[in-house]
Every structure is written in C-alpha cells, then in structure tokens.
Amino acid sequence: MPHPPRRPSPPRMRGFLRVLAGLLVLIPFSGGAQEAVGPNPAGHGSFTASHAAKMRSQTADHSKFTALKGPFKDGDGPAVTRACLTCHTKAAEQMMATSHWTWNVAKDGKNGYGKSTALVNNYCLTIVGGNTEGCTRCHAGYGFKDKTFDFTKQENVDCLVCHDTTGDYEKERAGMPNPAVPLAEIAQKVGTPTNKNCGACHFFGGGANATKHGDLDDTILKAPRTEDVHMSRQGAGMDCVDCHTSAEHKVGGPNYVIPADRRDEPKFAGESISRMACPACHTVAPHQSYVLNRHYQKIACQTCHIPAFARGERPTNTFWDWATSGRLKDGRPYEEKDANGWPTYTSMRGKMVWERNVKPTYVWYNGNLDFLRLTDKLPAARPIVMNPAEGSYADPKAKIWPFKFHEATQPFDPVNNTFVAPFTDGPAGSGAYWGDWKMDVAVQKGMETAGLPYSGKFDYVRTTMLWPITHMVAPKEQALACTECHAKKGRLEQVGGFYLLGRDRGMGIDVLGFGMILLTILGVATHGLIRTLHGRK
C-alpha cells in the first residue's frame, strides 16, 4: 500500500484529539462535512504569480485580427460585436442564455425573478415602470430601452463591457457605448474580465458607488490587505473571475437562483464545483482547531471572517426613505449632506442613512432568498421582508450567514396588496417622479408601462431587504473573537433554534452555584471560628 506523502508538521494535536475522541465515544463523525480535502497547492498565490499565470493563458493577440481594426463608427457597438462573432461564432448565443443578458431567471418553476421582469428592490425600486433606458447602461447589450428590445439579435450583445482591458470603455443610456470611446483600439486589446469590468456595474448597484451591496465598491480595486485579503494586491491579488468561474459565458454566482453555498452542486455543466464557496480552496477544515473547524457545520466562513461590511472608505446605504422624497425648495429639488459629505436628504430619494464598518445582521440561510415579485401578494407583517432567507438549524444546508439588512419605505398598492413600479426616470412633463414630483402620477404611469394591475391608490410601507455579505473578506487576524457570539448580547443574540454557550447561560444556575459556595464558606468559617475561640487545635 503506498504511503501518503509526509507533510512537514501537520496539526498533529488535532489528529490526536480526534483519535482519542473517537475512542472515548464511539460515534462516527458526521458525514462528509468533516472530510478534509487536501490543501490546494495553488491556493495561496501572490498577485504577481496569479497575474503572470493569467497572462500566459492568453493564446491570441487580438491586435493581429483585421476584423478588429475597424474603423468603427463612434458609438457603434453592434459593429464591434459583429466583428467578434466572425471568430467567436457561438459567443453571442452563449451570452444570450445567461442572466447577464436576460435580466431574468426562473426558479422553482416560477418566472419573473429579474429586473427586466418582476423583481423589485428597496433602492431604485424597479426598471419596468419606464426606467429601463437609464438602468440598462449596466445591461450587457446595446439598445435595451423598453420591453420592445429584441433579445434575439446577436449584434446587440455587448462584448466589450466585460472584455475591455484598457479601462477606457464606457456605456451610456440604453447600454450604448459612449461615442468618445475608441472602439477599434479597445477591441484589439480584449481579454479576460478584470475586477474593473465586473465592478463597472456591480460596484455601482443602487445607483452609485457602494450603495447597494455593502461588500462591493471600487475601493476593492486598490484595497489594502486589511480590506480584502483576496482581492488586494498585497493579499492574494485575485480577480472576481477566480471565484466566479464560468463556462459558456455562464458566470457562477447569480444570487437569485444560486444557493451561495451549495458547494457540492455545480451550477452548470463544466463549472469547476463552484469556487464561490470558500472550501473549494480552503477545504472544510482549514483551522488548526477541531472545535473551530466544526463550526463550519452551522456557521458560514463569512460570519467570522467578515467582521463588518463597507470596510473600505465608502459608506453604503442602509436606509432609504421614499416616503419623505419629493420635497422641493422654490420648486426645485435639493440635497442635504452631513459633515462627511454623505447625502442625508435628496428630493429624488428622500431621507437616507449611510454607514461604514457596519456590523452585519445574522440569519440562517441555505442559499435561497424568497423574493417577492411585483406580482406577488404582500405578507401582513411589517416591515415587509422582501426576500427572507430560507433556513434553520434543522436544515442541513443552512448556515448562519452575515447580511446587510437594507431598510426603506417605498410605495405599494394597499388595495391590491402588491408592490408598485413607479416611473421615476424622465424629464419634466413626462409624468416621471424625478421630473414632475408626483408619486401618484408616477405610480399610475409606471404600472401602465409595466402592464400590471393598479388600484389607483398607493401608500408607503416599511420594507427590509437582505443582502448576503460574502466579499471583502478580512485577514485572519481580524476574524471575530469567540466572545463576539459566545456572550450575552453578542452578535448572535437574535439567531434562534439552538443552545449557544455563553449566550444562553441561565443566571439562576449561577445564583444557585454561588449560593452553594457561599454556604460552604460560611459553614467552614463558623466551624473554624468556634475552633479558634475554644483555643484548641
């Protein structure tokens, strides 16, 4: 039998403890979760090493292709795409099957989970109420203005937004290239998507840098190691696509459908068992301590290793109060800012709260968020949780996970009991909220455009939306100390369903115990005192 290769000095004590433990109580350790996968030798790269490897993997110099020499008319993105497709004949077809293109996914047999269909959030609310053109500057396509957009036209796929390596590419309304962008030059330098490509949209969700996610903003591009141990060039120097692996242009990671931690199931054929899950590189037993490793059964890595979100310089939005929006000064919209320069009120959005270094909220999460669509009836509870996380202690796939809870007030239809899609983005006279400042008109118009039933009455309702936190992982020195959770009033104070050492300590037992000790001391002291008074012994 071949011997496994000897490793220098592995955690011998851990093994010892396990063996002894196994002897003491003859029970099998619970299933696969404890089976250590050998450490991945390529797991800890430096930025330079991983960057060099990526450069080597390129097999084509795109500046050698005549099709890319152009010249292309200013802003003529589709012409570039046609050129790309002369070699990459299946690329557009592949792209069109992804949610980067459709902005919609079906899950559990139900359609409408996406911003192009029926999803609603509590930031800018929706795009389907007539706001498509402004929002689709982030669509990986050209010309998505309204629902008449032709989702089957291959030349409408935007290759450059993801594959530009120069950083000069820029999109405008409806996703068209800025006419000033040198298309031919960019087309000759295409390559693997970098953090800048992904960040061009994903850093700016919610309308501005850092607004939406709380763990994604452009500080990642120049993050010190303390902010993001993976992405920082002083850290592992990784790119988004190192974890968000892809095949056939399907990028792993869409949170509407993909369980963030269904580590055993590839999202699609060819996906390298989703590297989005930490154990893909770190194994399920990365700590020296057996006790720490065992936490992974119920605690996501993120829970301890992301002590706070918005850890860069930029604040993230935590409260957005549509109910107070629309106030005007002398008939004009205005903004108020605090000492940091962060807006506390804007006529467009209402009162706002921005925060940095925010402690996450922790809930059980099996990877599935139950989104309420525009077509769904609203629950009675207030605030309305727009996408409650599924999971509990009993759910073997669920773990305690950190979330950004985004609070807001937003318009809804109290008669039909649904969310509404106001028409916000348009000039004065169009009926758009940001033009004419009338929410009733904006909702009426928006629901018409969206083709959704509207009672004619709207009101504001308090909502909470959950954003799983998984980026901006801190270096291990900053991981949570045990007593952040194993304590009274700790971080897991509200997470139910199990006994937690330190948190669920009953004071009665301590009173009883100390009482017992006190009585013993009293008894002993009295006995000793009498002995001394008798002057004997």
Binding site: L17, C482, I521, H534
Partner: protein, 207 residues
C-alpha cells in the same frame, strides 16, 4: 507515637496532579462560563479546558488501574461503624479537644465520613463531569447523527455547571478539613510526604 505510611508515591502524584488539573479546569471552565476571572481569554480557555479534560481522564484511568491492582479501592467501601462518632466529633468533640474517634491504619486510612465524601467524589461528581463534558463537546456530532434537539444542550450545560460548582464547594470543604488533623498542617504534610506520626497510642490503648 507511631509512624504510618498513608500515601504511596503514586497516590501522592495522582492526588496532586488531579488537584492541579481540576484547579486549572475550574479556572478555564468558569472563564468559559463567563463568571470567572478573565485569565486565558475565551479561545485559549476552551482549548486548555478540552486538553486538560483529556489529561485528567488519562490520569483517572491510571488511578483506577492502581486502585484495582493494589486493592486500595477497599479504602472507600462505606461503613456505618463510627459514623455517628465522627459526626459528633466534628460537631462538638473537636471544639473540646476530644481525640479523633477512628484509628488510622495503613489499610483503613479514611474515616467513615471521608469514605463517603471521596466515594461520592469518585463515583458521582467526577463521572457526572466527565460524561456531561463529553456530551457537551460532542453534542454537535451527536445532535447531528442521533437527531437530538439542538436546544436540549442547555440541560447538559446546566448539569455540567452545577457539577463544577459542587466541585468548588467540595474543594473548600476539603481544604478546610485538612486542617483538622493533629496540627493544622499534619494532614497536608502527610499528603506531601506520605507518612504521618500518630500520637493516639494512649487513647486507643485505653479502649
């Protein structure tokens, strides 16, 4: 006067090693509980507590072997003989300078009260602490494989903590009672050196 060897070398080693282990387990345990002084820090206290438990169990396995093979376990067989006299001695006699009612022998070195106390310690407190400790440590695994309730761990925790408090109370009483020998230090010396000089010939000869 007679010199009696009471505690052999292994017995003394076992006693003091156990004392040290239990004391450090108390410190770490109460720090983990959150009611004791913060000495080690939570993480180190947990690690230490777990390793100390293993060390203690190992020591106890050796001690059991020693008790069985030497027959010393008989020292702990409870008896009613002189039990009332012992109780009376601690309640009144000791104050009047009355002599100790039970004669110490090599093979009967424990008085009936000691027999009861140490037997209780060995067959009740320590087993309860070890089994609840093991249950506590393996609860996540057991809960998973046996389908136990994740909230029922509180019961294990409560018993383990009550056992710990009982140990502290035991320790206080134990240390105090060591001072009730011929002189306050006699018993302590015996546990350190192994032998004791007894000055009870006269009393027992009379009887």
């Amino acid at each position: 006067m007679r010199r009696v060897v009471l505690y052999e070398l292994f017995e003394r080693f076992w006693h003091w090693a156990q004392a040290l282990l239990i004391l450090t387990m108390m410190l770490t345990g109460f720090e983990i509980r959150g009611v004791g002084p913060h000495i080690f820090g939570f993480a180190r206290a947990v690690t230490l507590h777990n390793y100390l438990a293993l060390a203690l169990i190992t020591l106890i396995v050796f001690a059991i072997f020693w008790h069985v093979t030497t027959g010393e376990w008989r020292q702990y067989i409870p008896t009613r003989k002189f039990l009332q006299e012992m109780v009376r001695f601690y309640l009144t006699g000791i104050f009047k300078g009355a002599p100790h009612p039970v004669k110490k022998h090599r093979m009967a070195k424990l008085n009936p009260l000691q027999r009861l106390a140490y037997l209780g310690f060995k067959v009740l407190i320590i087993p309860v602490q070890i089994s609840t400790g093991a249950l506590y440590f393996f609860y996540p695994n057991l809960q998973h494989t046996m389908g136990w309730s994740p909230t029922s761990l509180w019961f294990v925790a409560v018993v383990h903590v009550l056992g710990a408090f009982a140990l502290v109370a035991f320790l206080i009483g134990h240390v105090y009672l060591t001072t009730t020998g011929h002189t306050p230090m006699t018993n302590l010396k015996a546990m350190l050196l192994g032998w004791e000089d007894l000055h009870d010939d006269e009393y027992f000869d009379q009887a």
